[in-house]
């Protein structure tokens, strides 16, 4: 069965070396056709009634992956040589083709031709690697034909002309993708095809027949060899291009070689690079470093993209980038210190598919033919994409997904192809779907393998759990939970009893999710991938299947549940005397809402045990909170809004600020304390592999916008430490009650978000959590909805020697990638939540034009941004109409943060209150947006 064929390989990192690797050829690799008489058919994947078997070439997999993902294409044999070539060229396509191959619904079979006795071929002398691989594909196709005899037709699909010619010569049926898809007679499939570049020229001509107009728009990308040598010599700089979310004509490249960010202005300097691409940048001469362009709200060039109304940002990550001003921007034109540059080459593309809609356009006269359309992505950082479609009338008012294929120098926009339709524009379900897709959130139902990991329902605490020595029986305690109204996934509960010595025993009980989610199971993998539950306005996308979140793990009232408890002994002054952790069994006596808990505490007539405990806890919490604030924890504010949703139509009925009560703060305080105690415990046991959460100290540059705003209204903020900032925020009291909150909101916005990390990756001083002024912090209290907490539960259990540490924790790289994924998912979940609120705000105002009060938060040269406290939204107000930019009627006083009319009659200054009118307008059909105007 073993055949030994050594072959020779050369080259290795600069040096030429002869490498000898063994290559075993086998006779136990089967063809995958269930009707085959010669092979073992137990692992066969192709359909038993297949009339044609497709063998795909590498270029087909690389470029037509969207087509292959369509269920209409089936009975495909993917050769291992093809997979290998794809893997070397494009990892993301490789992952996609692998996913198709492992999907049991699809009839894709991987044939390891390189290891098969009859299909392995040796490189002939003078043959290039590519030619050899093409030959290998042909040999494999031929083998299939011979092996299966006349039972089926074996068709080689290739877009390589040479390969097709040779195949036909050798007597193999070969076709191009286009002709094969045409033969299937499904027009929708044709849209999925990527045009070969030779047709690009034609397309260009169709659009503009005058040859004079076909000019070269972009500079040529430098060849890779030149880029490498340029990077070596330090004339080029490598980095990831990040496009400004709020101005797609401005991008940043963080470069390690310069140690600063390079700004790139305009599409021509960006030179066809997309957001997320790894690019090589050349610095422009210093006299071309441009002055602040971000001062204008609207954009340059011919595209009239506009800033829509958005939710007020909650942190620096969400907010538009503002470049710190250097010195006074008076008449003296000081040289800007930010280097700007242009892209000379793209090292790695970050192309994937994008969600959006087609630019509205009239239907072409002869409908049914091929139409060219421009696709506008919902993500403003992405340029318009040119696509061809045969179903234009169907797509015009739809949200669609489009993938990018190429971008050549002559076309202003990249070209791509249609992938699939999501639904009608403006439809709530479609738009929610778009929000999910854009944020890469998996909302598919859980697979059967995942559901198989769940314990059988109805579940109840078993006698084994009760007799388990590691599990303490705390059913006798008066435990209760306090959550938002209607909360079904209750993952925390509390108790508080007074001890004979005058101290209190306070316990935080967290749902014992890790008792049901075991490492390495499909359930665990799925949860680890999802990372967090996502809360949209009208629905929730769970991290764990519903039976776990709402029943088995949820600490509902009057049922016995398993928990992981943190129990402190505290003095009446809220000093922690001792801490202990234990797995436990609890029986919650009440599931209260914040409102109920607050009402109980406020009602002085009530003297029942729960109420007394609540009051005790509240007084402890107040002391803990005070102490935390004295340490320098920031009380930040965000403009969270809450919708009242119609239960039947799911339309928003009312919208208002989220109210924070004492009860919320009380629960929050104990959760913080539990997280801190757990963080200390796990770090003590596992100094190198604990999952913690840190909040980086904001740099002075980040706080610059806040300081400028504060200075303009005559307020001095001390930002030297979190304590100083907290104090000066406390003293920032203006003439109106909302002033302090507004300043806090602006401060929150300047900071980045806290992130998860593995303790082995950073040094202990970096573990610091700035916002909470805590040296250590982690997430322990919500394992039902956050995967980070699941990991922390496992760490804590292992540190208490209740269970073994799963092997993942021994692999530092894997741990880092888990925490990166958690950060990514966490951030996406937040973005999705915000996008969903934005969407519902739009729906809410559709039939309700409203006048309201707003505050100016940012001054621009042609208008200003206002923040509407009541609805938590922020948007631009234009003083000059678009198109008459720079008419000189208004000028900006940078020092005082004011925009004034030239004659001095009207001026608007920062934080000023203005009356505005909010209305949903539809400048183009199906493209409604919220518009703000001054009254």
């Amino acid at each position: 069965m073993l055949h030994n064929k050594s072959f020779v390989k050369k080259t290795k990192a600069g040096k030429v070396m002869k490498q000898v690797r063994e290559h075993y050829l086998r006779d136990d690799i089967y063809c995958g056709a269930p009707f085959c008489t010669a092979c073992d058919t137990s692992a066969a994947r192709l359909s038993p009634s297949a009339s044609t078997i497709l063998v795909v070439d590498t270029n087909v997999v690389l470029h037509q992956i969207d087509l292959l993902e369509n269920p209409a294409i089936d009975n495909v044999v993917v050769l291992s040589i093809v997979l290998e070539e794809v893997k070397n060229k494009n990892m993301s396509v490789y992952n996609r083709i692998r996913a198709i191959c492992s999907n049991s619904m699809r009839k894709f079979f991987v044939f390891s031709n390189e290891y098969h006795r009859d299909t392995y071929i040796k490189e002939m002398s003078g043959e290039t690697k590519n030619d050899r691989n093409d030959r290998a594909i042909r040999v494999a196709a031929q083998w299939y034909q011979k092996h299966l005899g006349g039972a089926v037709k074996v068709l080689l699909i290739t877009n390589d002309k040479e390969n097709k010619r040779k195949a036909t010569e050798e007597g193999i049926h070969a076709e191009t993708v286009e002709s094969y898809v045409k033969s299937l007679d499904q027009t929708a499939l044709l849209d999925l095809l990527v045009r070969p570049s030779s047709e690009d020229v034609n397309m260009e001509e169709v659009e503009d027949l005058r040859p004079s107009k076909r000019k070269i728009i972009y500079n040529e990308h430098k060849p890779m060899s030149e880029i490498t040598s340029g990077l070596h010599r330090g004339i080029y700089h490598q980095g990831k291009l990040r496009v400004n979310r709020f101005n797609p004509f401005e991008a940043y490249v963080g470069s390690e070689s310069i140690g600063d960010e390079i700004i790139i202005y305009g599409r021509s300097n960006m030179n066809r690079a997309f957001d997320g691409d790894i690019v090589a940048v050349e610095l422009l001469p210093q006299d071309q470093w441009q002055e602040e362009k971000s001062l204008a709200i609207a954009c340059e060039e011919d595209e009239d993209e506009d800033d829509g109304v958005h939710l007020a940002p909650n942190s620096a990550d969400d907010a538009p980038r503002t470049v710190p001003q250097q010195g006074s921007t008076g008449e003296v034109n000081t040289a800007p210190s930010r280097p700007s540059g242009r892209v000379v080459g793209i090292i790695k593309r970050n192309w994937h598919s994008y969600c959006g809609s087609l630019d509205p356009m009239p239907l072409p006269a002869g409908s049914g033919g091929v139409a060219h359309a421009l696709f506008v992505s919902k993500d403003r950082r992405i340029p318009k994409i040119r696509i061809q479609t045969r179903q234009l009338e169907n797509l015009l008012d739809k949200r669609i997904i489009v993938a990018v294929d190429s971008w050549d120098r002559q076309s202003r926009y990249p070209s791509g192809h249609y992938v699939r339709t999501i639904g009608e524009i403006g439809d709530r379900d479609t738009e929610s779907e778009v929000v999910l897709i854009e944020n890469d959130i998996n909302s598919r139902p859980f697979s059967s393998q995942v559901l198989a990991c769940l314990p059988p329902l109805p579940w109840s605490v078993s006698p084994e759990d009760l007799s388990n020595p590691i599990r303490q029986d705390l059913r006798g305690l008066c435990v209760f939970s306090v959550d938002p109204p209607g909360c079904k996934d209750i993952d925390d509960a509390l108790h508080c009893t007074s001890l004979p010595n005058g101290n209190f025993e306070v316990g935080v009980h967290i749902a014992d999710v890790t008792n049901f989610v075991h490492p390495g199971t499909p359930l665990d993998e799925e949860a680890s991938q999802r990372g967090t539950s996502v809360y949209l306005v009208e629905r929730r996308i769970d991290m764990l299947p519903k039976p776990l979140t709402e029943d088995i793990c949820s600490l509902r009232s009057d049922v016995e549940r398993l928990a992981f408890s943190v129990i402190w002994e505290m003095t009446p002054e809220a000093d922690i005397v001792s801490t202990r952790f234990t797995k436990s069994i609890i029986k919650s006596s009440a599931a209260l809402s914040y409102v109920e808990a607050q009402a109980r505490m406020d009602d002085s007539r009530l003297m029942d045990p729960i109420t007394t405990n609540l009051r005790n806890m509240n007084s402890l919490a107040k002391k803990m909170r005070l102490r935390r604030i004295q340490r320098g924890a920031l009380t930040l504010a965000s403009a969270e809004v809450k919708f009242q949703i119609d239960t039947e139509t799911h339309d928003p009925l009312d919208i208002g600020m989220y109210q924070i009560r004492e009860a919320n703060q009380m629960v929050e305080e104990f959760m913080l304390a539990a997280n801190v105690s757990v963080a200390e415990q796990i770090l003590k046991s596992f100094p190198l592999c604990s999952l913690l959460r840190r909040h980086p100290t904001p740099t002075r540059e980040m706080l610059e916008p806040l300081l400028r705003t504060a200075a303009a209204v005559g307020l001095h903020l001390d930002v030297s430490s979190s304590k100083a900032l907290a104090d000066s925020l406390d003293h920032a009291v203006g003439d109106d009650p909302y002033f302090n909150k507004l300043i806090r909101i602006l401060a929150t916005r300047c900071m980045t978000q806290a992130v998860y990390f593995s303790s082995g990756d950073l040094t202990p001083p970096e573990y610091h959590h700035y916002g909470l002024a805590a040296p250590l912090y982690t997430h322990f209290t919500s394992p039902i909805r956050r995967y980070a907490d699941v990991i922390v539960h496992r760490l804590l259990a292992a540190s208490l020697e209740i269970s073994k540490l799963p092997p993942v924790f021994q692999d530092r790289l894997q741990l880092t990638s888990i925490s990166d994924n958690l950060n990514y998912r966490h951030r996406n979940a937040q973005m999705a939540g915000r996008a969903s609120v934005e969407l519902h705000t739009l729906i809410y105002f559709r039939n309700r034009p409203t006048d309201t009060e707003a505050r100016v938060v940012k001054i621009r040269s042609n208008g200003f941004f206002v923040f509407v406290p009541k609805y938590g939204i922020e948007g631009p107000i234009y003083l000059t109409q678009k198109g008459e930019k720079g008419s000189g009627e208004w000028y900006v006083d940078e020092e005082q943060q004011k925009i004034k009319k030239m004659d001095g009659s009207i001026s608007y200054s920062i934080l000023q209150t203005v009356q505005i009118h909010m209305e949903v307008v539809e400048p183009q059909p199906n493209r409604s947006k919220l518009q703000l105007t001054l009254i």
Partner: protein, 241 residues
């Protein structure tokens, strides 16, 4: 990196439980009292045994048992880059010691007091698993020299990559940095004489990997026994029996 494809094939086309092709030849060095060449895939090792003979260094002589000495070296041409390796570096000292201890466990040293046995092993070509190949070659050479042994010692390695236990790692798999367990057994007595591991493994997986390596050792033992029988038949034939 993907060391095992979803189709269940390793980089060189083997399945996870398969060994490389093994080949052995007895009597490669005619001056020696016993010698053998042992190949596991592209790993090729030559072993030569001298003795039992008079102890060279009188102070080392033992009155109740034989002195076993072992020297391991790698030929300069055994790897791709021809670097001159200083003799007696840490790695070869360690492997020399490992081989000596393993062989000592099966040689009936008490039958040959006041004598010494020298085992020289040299790697002619290295492609992972040299340690195992050296032990297997040494066993054959000892048997060829007619030195009394309790049992044959055979060795094989196994690793754990991509959550799959893999038998007999080659160089590429070995340099992945994953766990690499080398096991040496006395197949007839069913005893383990050598157990080494690089990197770390959870205990329950270790058991599986050790089990796999033991299976490999047994397969090597069967092959070695066949080779020895074949060799004996040849000898008989030459004698004209």
């Amino acid at each position: 990196m993907e060391f095992v494809s979803p189709e269940g094939l390793r980089l060189d086309g083997r399945r996870p439980m398969e060994m490389r092709q093994i080949r052995a030849e007895i009597g490669a060095v005619s001056r020696a009292d016993g010698s053998a060449i042992f190949e596991m895939g592209n790993t090729k090792v030559v072993a030569a045994v001298y003795g039992p003979r008079e102890v060279q260094n009188r102070s080392q002589q033992m009155s109740d048992q034989a002195l076993i000495r072992c020297e391991y070296s790698m030929a300069n041409f055994s790897t791709g880059d021809r670097k001159r390796k200083p003799k007696g570096d840490r790695r070869s000292t360690e492997i020399s010691l490992v081989i000596r201890q393993t062989m000592e466990a099966c040689i009936m040293t008490n039958l040959m007091p006041r004598s010494q046995i020298d085992i020289y092993v040299q790697v002619l070509q290295a492609d992972g698993g040299t340690r195992s190949a050296c032990i297997n070659a040494a066993t054959l050479a000892l048997a060829d020299a007619g030195i009394p042994m309790r049992d044959l010692v055979t060795s094989c390695s196994a690793g754990y990559l991509n959550s799959t236990p893999l038998l007999d790692l080659n160089y590429v798999e070995d340099s992945a940095g994953g766990p690499d367990v080398t096991v040496g057994i006395l197949p007839k007595l069913d005893k383990v004489t050598l157990l080494q591991m690089d990197s770390k493994l959870p205990i329950d997986i270790l058991e599986n990997v050790v089990q796999l390596a033991t299976e490999g050792c047994k397969a090597v033992a069967n092959y070695i026994r066949e080779i020895l029988l074949e060799n004996t038949k040849q000898l008989e034939y030459r004698r004209g029996v």
